[in-house]
Amino acid sequence: MALSKEQILALAPDDASAKAGQQLSGPAKWVSKQASPEAVWGACQGSGKTPYITFIDLTDTAFKCTCPSRKFPCKHGLGLYLLYAQQPQLFDTRGEMPLDLQQWLQKRQAKAEAKPSEKEQKPVDEAARQKRQEARQQKVEQGIAGLQVWLKDLVRGGIAQVPQQMPGIALGMAARMVDAQAPGLALQLRRMADIAYFEEGWQLHFLRAVSGLYMATLLHGQQLWANAEQQADSHQYIGYPLAKETVLQQPATSDKWLVLARKTQTEDNLTTEVAWLYGLGQQKFAQHLQFLARNQAPEVMLTAGMVLQADLVYYPGSFPLRALFRSGTQQVQQTPVFPQHPGMAGVKKSAADVLAVHPFVENIPFILTGVQLQRAKAQWLLADAQQQGLPLLNPEKDIYHLLAATGGHAFDAFVLYSHGALQVLTLFVHQQTIPL
């Protein structure tokens, strides 16, 4: 099932690739263009003697190309897919699939169907593993002890001078947490460094970060969790790794998953992709993360509005969100229909319930129906039919896109709730899915 033009462009690794892909989406660029229900393939004449051969798997969006580009997908993949999306009639459907394309598709199918237990497993040296875990535990505890001293020092003398010292002091402590093998704490400290210290209200954001870190370290050190889920929350916060194979042992949730939003962030040659998913049958949310080294191909290509039949396995926790795909995904056609949401009072109640068991959660997802934009002095709000509203965290640019797309009328939206405010990530209006 082919993606739309916007979805295809969203797959581009950067703006330059999107632009180059569009330039290659004209029929004149392709000396051959063929298609079948499962795949599209073509030959593009480059500057060399031999044309580049490009394959696209339509059932589980993937690309393969003979060009030397290290970007993924390359401009040829994007260009061919764009051409197919816009002018499918130009593609010859009579020809047979080339042998190497058939082999590539079969290999992908086999990989997707292989169960984790069938994959080759190395024998585990239990004693060595135990020793490594103890060593790590010790490092983490030492790191935490140092962190607690640092946090107390910050509040003892007063925080008025903190803006002048940031981001240096937080980043320095983050580096120490990386050395202590506590990457989760390092992440929280980098977020502390990113607070806008010269804007009004920075003190509360800072105190939230400092006190949250302190409580998390106490929770870990004193093992104050009430059950296994809260222990998992604590370990995740600190940054203990959990092997994918272990997660995949958990029971899966099978559903048609709507991709609500996809955001990427690149720092130091590492791209983090966060995709939010919603099970249309079971009405559950999930968050899928992919960490990609430079030019590494993602395991799954996701774009907002896509619906995938798939099995998801959640990471353990008291408010499970992060999940993995157990096996392959199959794109399906389905128009999402969302149940009526009780409104902002319901959002606050649900958020309170989540915070009661997992106070460290950053973002709580909701799909709100029939909401409208309103303004209270300089603040934009999202309001429900009962005329109750919550502040919006979206920048002004997003607000005006929301207004333009909705005309000021009510709409449905995928939002993230965080500390009393909402951020709209995707809006659903006029039967369209519009990511912001």
Partner: protein, 488 residues
Amino acid sequence: MSLLEPILKAALLGTEKYQPEAALLPHGLGEAIAATGTDREDIFLKTTAVALWYTDAGSLPQSTGTGVPHCPPEERTYTPTQRTEILTEIIQKNDLLLLEYFTGRAVAHQQVIPPQWVPTLLDLAVQHKKLRPGLLSLAGTTGQWLCGINPYWQPLQATPTDEVWQTGTEPERLEYLKQVRAEQPARAIELLQDGFEQENAALRLAFLQVLHTHKCAQDEAFLQKTLADKSKPVKQEAQLLLKTMPGSDLNKAYLAYAVSLASVREERYLLVSRKKVLHIAEGIEPPKALTDTGISKVSGQKGVDDHYVWFAETVAYTPPEALAQALQTDADTLLQLMLAHKGLEYLRIHLVQSAINFRHAGWMRQLIAAGMHLNAAMLQVLPPQEQLELLNGLLQSQGAEAIAAIESLNYLPCTVQQAGRYIEFLKNQPYHITKRDYQVLALHFPPGAAAMLEAFLANHGTSFNPPYFIERVQDMLQVVQYKQQFTA
């Protein structure tokens, strides 16, 4: 007192100096923390965490503010999917030339862009004044509605008034004058009359240049006063405007002098027939009014007599029809006689100037046929279809001028054959025009030229040298395909 105020106070002062009371937190939480705390900082950090969680979990949604009025319904139709995709692709590429063209096409079809693209259009309209009218039209009712809400876009709605003339920047005032001149030509003169001498010389010149279009009866009196301007370029501009204004005192003086010099006589030819001959009298020097406004006092060209120079330079500012009538002949015959006159052989450029100044298509055709070197100003005297026929020739001699002419023709489409001739020429001279010029040329091609360009790429493709030209042809093909899809 809010739960967080004492916490903020302690944070700012430091726990050494201030500690919130245990009773701050409800349900005995504060006391429990105080009882188990290891030190002041430990108690403070726990209290802060609990207070923040309690506030986050317990706060209620606020009563809403003011609703946003709904956008009025759009009266025009939205651009269909294919046109929208082309427009959005061009917007994302930030290609202003194509954006201006295709926006114009959509607006001509009374269409507007789907609403989710309107904010992007409005941002572009703020940045690019030249594109503003087209973009605002394409943004439709949604655009007007959003301009009323967002202060950054509000200036887009503003209709300039005389206040701009009083208090605006120089570019704003110039733009306003152009707008007024187009709508109310005499009003433009009224605006200029008040305080013209106080403007700086460059601005006075720019203002006068606006008066070349939408001429009106009130121009002459104002321009006569400007002849006394202390800036030479300003004075010369005023002189030019008066010289090219049929019926003005100065223009009448030019006509009178030309008539005094020239006469058309019939003479015996080859014993059996008679033919008309142009005679130009010697010794009648030009009056001061003419030498003060540009007529040479003596010939500056070796081998060309003074009286021929005087005549030719005067004809440049004499309306052809009026001169022909005064000499009791018709304009075409008069030109033929001047072209045949040996004394005027090296002065034909002035005949061209007359055709340009008074937009005489008949003279221009004959002058081009006589081999006068073509430029864009000459071309623009002719009707659009005739210009198309001549553009290829202009492109070969002066690429930039041809491109300017194509743009001024609003990209009137050529034939596929003409398009093919352009490609044949540029194949051998690929750097003759710029990358942008190739786009302008492509906008001038008919949708049917796509097949011709595809065939060229198929035949020459990889082996062609230089690859720069192949890339330009690919770009042109993309533009022509846009045109095809846009009109589909």
